[in-house]
């Protein structure tokens, strides 16, 4: 019986393909693509002020609202944070990635890899919480500064307008540290992958041709591993752009994109405006992905 069914299917490879591909594809088309379309459609609707109901008529009202100075400020602030976090993570990630790729023994490499990827997969929220503890006014960082009598340094940093605040746990600088921490593994893994692909013979060739270690690094290793940096930056940039947890937990009243979307759809129930707002990061990310692809970053993913 099974034999006959198996033979029946064997003779119809297209049917088998349909049976395999059908369920996941239908799920994705209906749930995910369908939702994205609903998002797009909603961004052209508007909210009736008095009833709080969505009016299903075409309007560009929501997109017009994006160009108010408050909202442009939100976009600029978020993009600026995303860029700063991406650069900082690139700098922090490189030594560790380089060490894992070139100097760790195979056994060590496995453990280091796991050590990097566990935070990548686990406990996003809890790890944000950790920084709430660490950066709190009465927390470890303050204690540390006090210990060395450096309280004035901390106060000085916090008093800088734009990045300071009442405490580290309620300031852009605190957010910046937390963002760097949370997305760091996403930068390490692609850089490490790219570095692993640089053949050792190239480094030997470079030193054979008279380059010292620093020259080899600058002229051979860095250019060849750069696609990995770009690949990592896709994640750090995209994730920072869309996050609303960290600004909500550690930020001040100056909104980020994610927070705006979250609050419009939540308390205000204004899904059309939230939808239009989301088009911002989508457009930015698509542009970013296109540039990244040009730079060969997709090969390093």
């Amino acid at each position: 019986m099974l034999n006959r069914l198996s033979t029946y299917l064997y003779q119809r490879p297209k049917l088998v393909l349909g049976l395999l591909l059908g369920p996941p594809l239908i799920y994705f088309l209906v749930v995910y693509i369908g939702s994205l379309l609903a998002l797009l459609v909603n961004s052209f609707f508007r909210l009736e002020e008095f009833t709080g109901l969505v009016v299903r008529e075409f309007t560009l009202e929501q997109y017009a609202k994006l160009f108010t100075s408050t909202n442009l400020g939100i976009f600029g602030r978020t993009a600026g944070m995303a860029i700063a976090v991406t650069i900082a993570d690139g700098i922090i990630a490189f030594p560790l990635a380089y060490y894992i790729a070139r100097f760790a023994s195979p056994r060590m490499k496995t453990y280091l890899y796991i050590a990097v990827t566990i935070p990548l997969w686990s406990s996003y929220l809890v790890r944000v919480y950790a920084w709430k503890l660490i950066l709190a006014k009465e927390g470890i960082v303050s204690w540390f500064f006090n210990l060395f009598g450096l309280q004035f340094v901390l106060d000085g940093i916090l008093s800088i307008p734009g990045i300071g605040g009442s405490s580290l746990s309620l300031s852009p600088i605190g957010m910046f540290i937390t963002f760097c921490y949370i997305w760091l593994p996403y930068m390490i893994v692609p850089i490490q992958t790219a570095l692993e692909r640089v053949p050792k013979s190239l480094l030997e060739a470079s030193s054979d041709l008279g380059a010292n270690a620093a020259q080899t690094f600058r002229n051979v290793i860095l250019p060849l591993s750069f696609p990995g940096v770009v690949a990592g930056s896709i994640f750090t940039f995209s994730l920072t752009l869309g996050d609303f947890i960290i600004p909500q937990v550690l930020g001040n009243s100056r909104f980020f994109i994610g927070q705006a979307v979250y609050s419009y759809q939540g308390t205000a129930g204004n899904i059309p405006l939230a939808a239009a707002f989301t088009m911002g990061p989508i457009v930015i990310m698509i542009a970013y992905l296109l540039i990244a692809r040009k730079m060969g970053a997709f090969d390093a993913l």
Binding site: F28, S123, T193
Partner: protein, 272 residues
């Protein structure tokens, strides 16, 4: 164990940089465990004013926590099962035939994790709103499955591609029909990839907050419970305990999944 560079040593600066990076990644997690023993109820003061284990007991008594934990586990289990089935089917389809649009499928599946989580979240929220679907246990699961599928898909597809030689053909050649081949050859080959993919999907779902915020309505999963505590801290000591427990629950499956992947020398799935 010989290093790749035949005795060449990393410079002091590089070693320190690497160690610094590792500490930066892991010390904060250790601090959470430390705080779950604090006697301080009102602030996050350091050094800890005193040490106690009573908050574990208090946390165990909290019905709202138990409800959130149960909901999170139920969601994670069902989302993982759905992801295992759909992800494996998609991987098998992409592996076995060279159909038109194969690249597009991979791209489509990766989208939910390549785009910011908030996009998936608000998109699902729009669809739920537009179609007047009531929030439920199932709206959470549908949201989670969209980003869990790709994890299983990546793991299984990588394993298919790594499968040694023409084993499927060999099995059929030796008289096994498709179902027997699946049972005796494909499944044993895929077992650890399914296990690894499943555990990662589980951890991802158990932990997820961004998409969940948009699909849960008034329901509270464990991450949502924690999030509300982060925004408006009411039960600081209990939150510390819960945070420690979440780390423990997600740590084990991820650690095992990574070990399995490392053993089969796979580094796929590194992208969330």
């Amino acid at each position: 164990m010989p290093s790749k560079n035949y005795g060449e040593k990393a410079s002091l600066g590089l070693t320190l940089g690497a160690i610094g990076g590792l500490l930066f990644l892991h010390v904060p997690i250790a601090i959470i465990f430390l705080y779950s023993f604090t006697t301080d109820e009102a602030t996050y003061s350091f050094p800890l004013p005193g040490v106690t284990t009573k908050w574990f007991g208090v946390a165990l008594q909290r019905a709202d926590l138990w409800a959130a934990l149960t909901l999170s586990l139920r969601v994670a289990v069902v989302a993982t099962i759905a992801a295992l089935i759909l992800g494996t089917l998609a991987a098998a389809a992409v592996y076995r035939s060279n159909f038109f649009g194969r690249e597009a499928i991979s791209f489509l599946l990766v989208l939910p994790i390549a785009l910011p989580g908030i996009v998936t979240g608000i998109a699902l929220r729009s669809a739920i709103g537009t179609m007047n679907i009531p929030f439920s246990y199932w709206t959470i699961i549908i949201g989670h499955a969209t980003f869990c599928i790709v994890v299983v898909y990546n793991n299984v597809l990588a394993r298919f591609r790594r499968m040694q030689g023409s084993q499927i053909e060999a099995s059929m050649d030796l008289g096994a029909n498709s179902f027997q081949t699946f049972r005796y050859v494909i499944l044993p080959n895929m077992a650890t990839a399914l296990l690894a993919g499943g555990m990662l999907a589980f951890a991802l779902s158990f932990d997820e907050v961004i998409v969940t915020t948009f699909t849960a309505g008034q329901q509270s999963t464990l991450p949502i419970w924690i999030f509300s505590q982060l925004v408006r801290p009411r039960d600081r000591p209990v939150t510390n305990v819960v945070a420690s427990i979440v780390i423990l629950i997600t740590f084990l499956p991820i650690f095992l999944a990574q070990r399995i992947s490392a053993q089969s020398s796979e580094t796929e799935g590194g992208a969330k």
